[in-house]
């Protein structure tokens, strides 16, 4: 089995207009054997650069890359035994589907019969049996994507690398293809690094996700952990929707910390030791916020109500914040119209403390 390790990876570029640009800063990462790890982040966060460094298309300024405990930092891309799936597929336009898939096997000097057998097998695997003689531009986007996938896996690479492979497909196909990629990866058991900026895609496909921000890895964990216990405001707001409230720590009440938000008191279940008067940030997911008819408790006014079938989304004004609230499968008579007063609940278990800034 094969793992990938990145140690203190940094990458700098000289940009003609902006001078030295640091794309990757001190990245340490360990991709386990057979794992699918996703690098998730906004554009420009350095995720693609990390991927290209693993592939060998780019040389890091400092740091080392290990594949299967072998230092490959200075080894050429064509000797790393990787499979790369490009955002634009990068199929060879002059070669047929068959020839595209066979390319890596030809380069490896396999016997013609073996090549034919392998190509046929992998085309069946990606559901493209019979498409062998076609040229890439005779295929749909989804089919081209499958050819790219087949071409990358047929060489039985030690590591599979995906660079935003689904971003050129329409929404429905994206969902279908990500399922197929995940299934294929699980069947083949190839250690995989996957780059995307789509958090839903990342959550659906990954064993673990490394959230990147400005060249650094902000947090690396399973989707569930990242969602439930984000380490920073950035991770909290990048993964799923969230409400962030700036507050002051007032004191403790049992295992809860009491916060002051613009004059309103709010208990948060936390073990964190805080100095009275400390500035903190509280986070709560939209689905954790309760809403009901006016009464005792926190008061808010409804700004908008959006009906989405299986759920209703509200934006309410609470103190100086616009809070997002999601009600899943709400009762038919539960209607809070814009302009109306409501009572909201911010349960102590739904709230979490994050460092400010």
């Amino acid at each position: 089995m094969v793992d990938v390790r990145l140690e203190h990876l940094s990458a700098e570029f000289t940009h003609p207009a902006r001078g030295t640009v640091v794309a990757v800063r001190e990245v340490d990462l360990h991709v386990q054997s057979g794992e699918l790890l996703t690098l998730l982040g906004p554009s420009g966060c350095g995720k693609t650069t990390v991927l290209r460094i693993i592939a060998g298309f780019q040389v890091p300024t400092t740091g080392r890359v290990f594949i299967d405990n072998q230092d490959v930092t200075t080894i050429a891309a064509n000797r790393r035994d990787i499979g790369f799936v490009f955002q634009n597929y990068a199929l060879f336009p002059h070669l047929t589907v068959q020839e595209n898939v066979a390319y890596g096997l030809h380069v490896r000097h396999l016997a013609a019969a073996d090549i034919a057998r392998n190509v046929e097998k992998v085309l069946q695997l990606v559901d493209l049996a019979g498409f062998g003689p076609r040229l890439p531009d005779e295929l749909s986007g989804g089919q081209q994507q499958r050819v790219a996938l087949a071409r990358a896996v047929v060489i039985q690479p030690r590591v599979l690398l995906f660079d935003e492979p689904l971003s050129n497909l329409d929404a429905k196909l994206r969902v279908q293809m990500r399922g197929e990629i995940r299934e294929l990866q699980r069947v083949l058991g190839i250690t995989t690094v996957y780059v995307t900026h789509d958090q839903e895609e990342a959550m659906a496909i990954s064993d673990r996700i490394a959230v990147m921000d400005q060249g650094r890895i902000a947090q690396c964990d399973t989707a569930e952990e990242l969602y439930r216990r984000p380490a920073s405001s950035f991770v909290a707001s990048f993964l799923g929707r969230t409400n962030l409230l700036d507050a002051t720590f007032v004191g403790r009440d049992g295992d809860c910390a009491i916060l002051d938000i613009e004059g309103q008191r709010l208990p948060v279940r936390t073990a964190a030791a805080l100095e009275p008067g400390a500035a903190v940030r509280a986070m709560i997911r939209p689905e954790a916020v309760g809403i009901g008819p006016p009464g005792t408790g926190l008061r808010a006014s409804v700004l908008t109500r959006t009906y989405l079938g299986d759920k209703v989304e509200y934006v309410v004004r609470f103190a100086s914040y616009s809070l997002h609230i999601v009600r899943f499968n709400p009762a038919e008579n539960e209607r809070f119209e814009p302009g109306g007063e409501v009572r909201i609940e911010l349960p102590p278990d739904g709230l979490q403390l994050l460092p400010r800034g």
Partner: protein, 557 residues
Amino acid sequence: MSVLSIRAADPLRTAVLGLIWLLLALFVVFPLLMLGLRAATDNGTFDLTPALNALRQTNTLRAFFNSLLLATLVGLLGTALGFLFAFTVARARIGRTMAWLLDTATLLPLISPPFTTSIAFVFSFGPRGFISHGVLGMTNAQVYGLRSTLVAEALTYFPLAYMALRPMLTAIGGNLEEMAFSLGSSRWRAFRTVTLKLTVPGLANAFLLLFAASLADFATPLILAGNDLPVLPTEAYLQITGMFDLKGGAVLSLLLLVPALLVFLLQRRLVARRSYVTMGGKGVRATAGDSVTPNLRWVLVGGCMLVVLLIFYLYGLLAYASLVQAFGANGTLTLAHYRVVFTQGMPAIRDTLIIGAIAMPLGGLYGVLVGSLVGRVRGGQALELVSMINYALPGTVVGIGYLVAFNTPPFLMTGTAAIIIACYIFRYSPSGIRTTIALLAQIDRSIEEASTSLGAGTATTFRRVMLPLILPAFFAGLSVVFIRSMTAISATIFLVSIHWTLITVRILENMTELSLGPAAAFSIFVIAVVLVVTKGLEVLLRLLGGRSAELMMVEHE
């Protein structure tokens, strides 16, 4: 890209690059320097007096003025015709037959020897012309002068404007015009404020292309301009061949060089600002929409048809003249003129074909090499610029430059086939260079990386991925070099000798001897050969699995 593979490829690339710079120095820079030197020195000492004297002659100034006037008028008329054709194709929803007619009518002038239109003009409007004498019964028709020269050149060169404007108008598409309608604009207003405005750089580019083509045109004025309209290329030629005054010819050609370089640099700036994204691919299917009313559509189609008919009429006249005893006097059908072509003309045909057959592969290879180096080496911009010089200069300048430069040891090449071949390669390969650059720009970096990630080294990637992808550019280069080696005259008229001569020179000789029949037969023969060879190249490319590339640069002689 691995550090190792770059290092391994370096010596080869450096060697090729060095060789190309050496060739450019010898065949582009050196002749120009020698030309300037010849104009500015006398008996080995620096002396501008003879040059200034030549400039002071009224004839020189008249020729300079006439050249600029003619080029401006041809630019305007040709651009207008080109726009008419391009707009009709892009907007008037023409059928397939009509499209074929327009394509053929615009292709013919591009592949014909340079005298074709002029000879046909003489047949049509000359003293014994079909229209002037045959239809109108004039006995002393005056075909020579500004009017015929202007119309003949405009008809010869407007396809350049058409080819430059059509992709642009197609790319602008009807959507933008529809948007303007939807905002309440009238058709005319939408055309004026959207389409025309967006086409302005293209129109300017087309005008400059035609201006340069007319400025450099030697053949048309030689036949049609007459005594009252001296222009620089013909004056320089007469100076050298008539009066054996090489220095006077050099001075005149340098005078031609100034506006030509100016136009070239202006045009580069224009094109640099324009995006090539929509060229080369299939382009967006024009949604013709409502941009053209049915009435206007008929006006457009009618206008194009008129021009198409005129072109077909001229070529028909030429074919007819090649098949009758004596045009205008004796209409008996005969193959005598073709017999002349294949007997007395045989040496010229053989020489031309040999030279073309050698220049074609060398030029194609040179184009692909330079084109793929430009984006990958330091100084690529300079390389591209220098490689364009001989293309941008009028043939007269290049021809006289070669004549001056390669007349003495150590580079004694006068009278050889090599000098003509070199002239063709460095003058007509830039089309291949530009097409290669444009093709490579379309090939995403990830295609190379995909090959690398699959385990292929630099050599394999080049051979199996890059080479097949630039094959169309190679073939485009081949066909342009071949077409031009069959049809060029403005530069090579100075380079032919008793050992090596060319068909185009034979046509000129026929014209001066007033053997119009053989001249017509020669022209038809050249057109036939060019058509057969270029079609053959297309078929070969398709057999090799390539798709033909749209030329990235429109060509002129």
